[in-house]
């Protein structure tokens, strides 16, 4: 019999039980939509992570004190990082791949403006190179200059959160705040970076290194040295150069017993990317299971349909319907269920991906749409074949006797 007629029979069969067909399709719809949507969310989150890490600057390296091997014996004798280390890195002829160096000290303390007191997340003392290396840009006012650093001027750049807390709607530029008894003139306000987790990167005060050392930490060690490589490709070379130079200044001979640690954004990126992939795979697996459950729903409903229409199958067989036609009729019906369900699921998934989900903007993977649709249709064929085969193999005499 021709395909068109089979399709018409299948449509008739589905239309006879509209609610049942709709619910079965809903199962497939949810499966397909969740595959598309969850993969898009996973993909979207890894795209977002990649973007934010790229925004931090992929060519920046952070040197911090302490052994990179947790239980190293030499920890007690470890030298702290100093401004001299930073100077050695900055001036060394052995480091052609280092673009700029910024030693960093961090401390905390309450800031006062008028009668408003606020404790920012951190107070950072550093060199102007810090701004470029850590991808901080001013929105209002200006950075402090090398001149400010040399003269240990009492100027500060505020993060946007800190500025809002202290000044609310007032323009902070040129105003004076007091931190730990020391008056600072606000020279600029940084652009909002936005929170990436529990830490607010906009809640900080940045001031010249000697000013902060003078007022709070003293002229001892620094917490970190931020190094910017000349480009993203040279970070590995720059890392080797830093190791070489610091081993010299710290008088270390054994490269396995370093008393400092170098981390770069690229390795962070790789780590976050692999986390993102695991996340995506997990989401995809959950979605695939729901697709499978939708497929089992098809089998279930088709088995019910076959049982319910056993008599009809008997009549058709008595009229001379060959096995293939009966098989085709029920297979068409189950495939139609899955095709319609999958089509609506693709639609739902694509529409759903326009909304941001738990703060993540989903990015649809085109292959996932095709794969989800294809798998759903294949599931319809596969899961429909058992009930269809059962219908086709019924003996006409038994089918006719069925009440």
């Amino acid at each position: 019999m021709i395909l068109w007629q089979m399709l018409r029979f299948a449509f008739g069969g589905l239309a006879a039980n509209k609610v049942r067909s709709a619910l079965t399709m809903l199962g497939v719809l949810i499966g397909v939509a969740s595959v598309i949507l969850l993969l898009a969310v996973g993909n979207g989150s890894s795209v977002a992570v990649k973007d934010s890490i790229t925004a931090l600057g992929t060519n920046s390296l952070t040197v911090s004190a302490g052994s990179s091997f947790g239980g190293a014996r030499g920890a007690s004798t470890a030298k702290k990082l100093t401004v001299d280390d930073a100077k050695a890195l900055a001036s060394s002829a052995q480091a052609p791949d280092i673009k700029s160096v910024a030693p960093v000290v961090t401390t905390t303390g309450a800031a006062l403006y008028g009668d408003i007191s606020y404790t920012p997340g951190s107070i950072v003392g550093t060199y102007p190179a810090y701004f470029e290396t850590s991808n901080q840009k001013v929105e209002k006012g200006d950075y402090f200059s090398n001149d400010d650093v040399l003269n240990a001027r009492k100027v500060a750049v505020l993060g946007s959160t800190t500025a809002k807390q202290l000044f609310d709607t007032e323009d902070p530029v040129g105003k004076q705040i007091t931190i730990g008894g020391t008056p600072f003139t606000v020279s600029g306000v940084l652009k909002t970076k936005g929170s990436t987790g529990f830490n607010d990167p906009d809640d900080l005060v940045i001031a010249p290194l000697p000013t902060v050392q003078n007022a709070f930490t003293g002229f001892g060690s620094v917490n970190q040295i931020l190094v910017q490589a000349t480009s993203a490709e040279t970070t590995t070379a720059a890392q080797a150069e830093i190791t070489q130079i610091l081993m010299g200044t710290h008088a270390l001979a054994d490269a396995t017993k370093l008393d400092f640690r170098i981390s770069n954004q690229a390795s962070l990126l790789t780590a976050r990317e692999s986390t993102g992939k695991t996340f995506t795979v997990l989401l995809g697996a959950v979605a695939a299971i729901s697709l499978l459950v939708g497929g089992i729903g098809i089998t279930n409903i088709m088995l019910v349909t076959v049982t319910e229409r056993t008599r009809e199958i008997g009549i058709r067989k008595a009229l001379g319907a060959p096995k293939g036609v009966i098989l085709g009729q029920f297979l068409t019906e189950s495939t139609l269920l899955s095709v319609l369900g999958a089509g609506l699921g693709v639609l739902a998934g694509l529409i759903g991906s326009h909304f941001s989900i738990v703060g993540i903007k989903p990015v649809v993977i085109p292959e996932s749409v095709l794969a989800a649709f294809g798998i759903a249709v294949a599931i319809g064929l596969f899961f429909g074949s058992y009930p269809a085969n059962r219908a086709a193999s019924l003996r006409p005499i038994d089918a006719l006797r069925h009440e």
């Binding site: 019999m1 007629q5 008739g12 006879a16 008599r311 009809e312 008997g314 009549i315 058709r316 067989k317 008595a318 009229l319 001379g320 319907a321 060959p322 096995k323 036609v325 003996r395 006409p396 005499i397 006719l400």
Partner: protein, 287 residues
């Protein structure tokens, strides 16, 4: 034309006096019988629990069932009668190729259907047999026209051809104006007439009606039987299963089954002539 196997093994089947007498009325030059069943048995279960739904007479020596033997001539109108459990439904299922006999041979229109596989059997059902059931057995949610087209569709006929023949068949049963109605929009009598149209649309070798009037009121019964009479009058072979004498009155030959064996075989009219209860105004169809 037929004969019953009332003799012992070997003897009565081929040379019984009844057979000779039957052949004589018809002449040896006539077409071969549409149905020839030879020593057909049907049993269910195994060992001591075996039930012989169709057994024929028992072998006088061993007590084994010898099976039913029966011929039905082309153009005949045979009523098979018997109470429930007499084996008439089993016989009907075997005649309709819906069930296979446990033993014996069945030749339908010259073809031995015992050796056919599932696919060939469906072809035989499609081409050679038109079923009319007691419970109409129309396909739900399908218009009368589509019902009648169904056997043609399974036979692979083209759309236009299907439509033409289905409409002709519906006109023959007087339902041309109801072709777009679905089963739930038709009365019982109309449904059965659609079933008759569906049974005859492929021009089968035999119409097989299983209690066609069992679910109908007396007026619809007369209508349906009138149509069947008319079909027989224009040469269709009809096998009708019933337990009502009133219905059997229409047949040219009445066979009675008791406990799976033929106990009587009465001819009420000649094979060649019109059926005995036909009402002349129905001959040639109604439209």
């Amino acid at each position: 034309m037929g004969r019953t196997n009332s003799g012992s093994r070997g003897g009565g089947r081929h040379t019984g006096p009844a057979v000779r007498a039957g052949d004589a009325t018809r002449g040896d030059a006539g077409p071969p019988p549409v149905i020839q069943i030879r020593r057909v048995t049907k049993s269910y279960g195994l060992g001591d629990a075996t039930v012989h739904a169709l057994r024929g007479p028992s072998d006088p020596v061993t007590g084994e069932p010898l099976g039913v033997t029966l011929d039905i001539e082309q153009g005949d109108f045979v009523a098979v009668m018997g109470s429930s459990g007499s084996g008439k439904s089993t016989l009907m299922n075997i005649l309709g190729c819906l069930d296979v006999p446990t033993g014996g041979r069945y030749l339908l229109d010259g073809t031995d259907v015992g050796h056919l596989d599932e696919g060939q059997l469906s072809l035989v059902r499609n081409r050679k047999i038109g079923f009319i059931f007691q419970s109409f057995n129309l396909v739900p949610r399908t218009t009368a026209l589509a019902q009648v087209e169904l056997p043609l569709a399974y036979a692979g006929a083209r759309s236009a051809e299907r439509r033409r023949r289905a409409l002709a068949a519906l006109s023959l049963v007087g339902l041309a104006d109801r072709s777009g109605h679905k089963p739930n929009e038709l009365s019982g009598g109309q449904q059965q007439r659609v079933a008759v149209a569906r049974a005859l649309v492929t021009a089968p070798a035999m119409l097989l009606a299983d209690e066609p009037t069992g679910n109908l009121d007396s007026r619809s019964t007369e209508e349906v039987l009138g149509i069947i009479d008319g079909l027989n009058a224009i040469g269709r072979t009809v096998v009708l299963i019933t337990h009502e004498d009133e219905v059997a009155r229409h047949a040219k030959r009445v066979i009675r089954l008791v406990d799976g064996a033929i106990v009587s075989d009465v001819r009420q009219g000649p094979v060649a002539g019109p059926p005995p209860a036909i009402r002349p105004e129905l001959v040639g169809g109604r439209s």
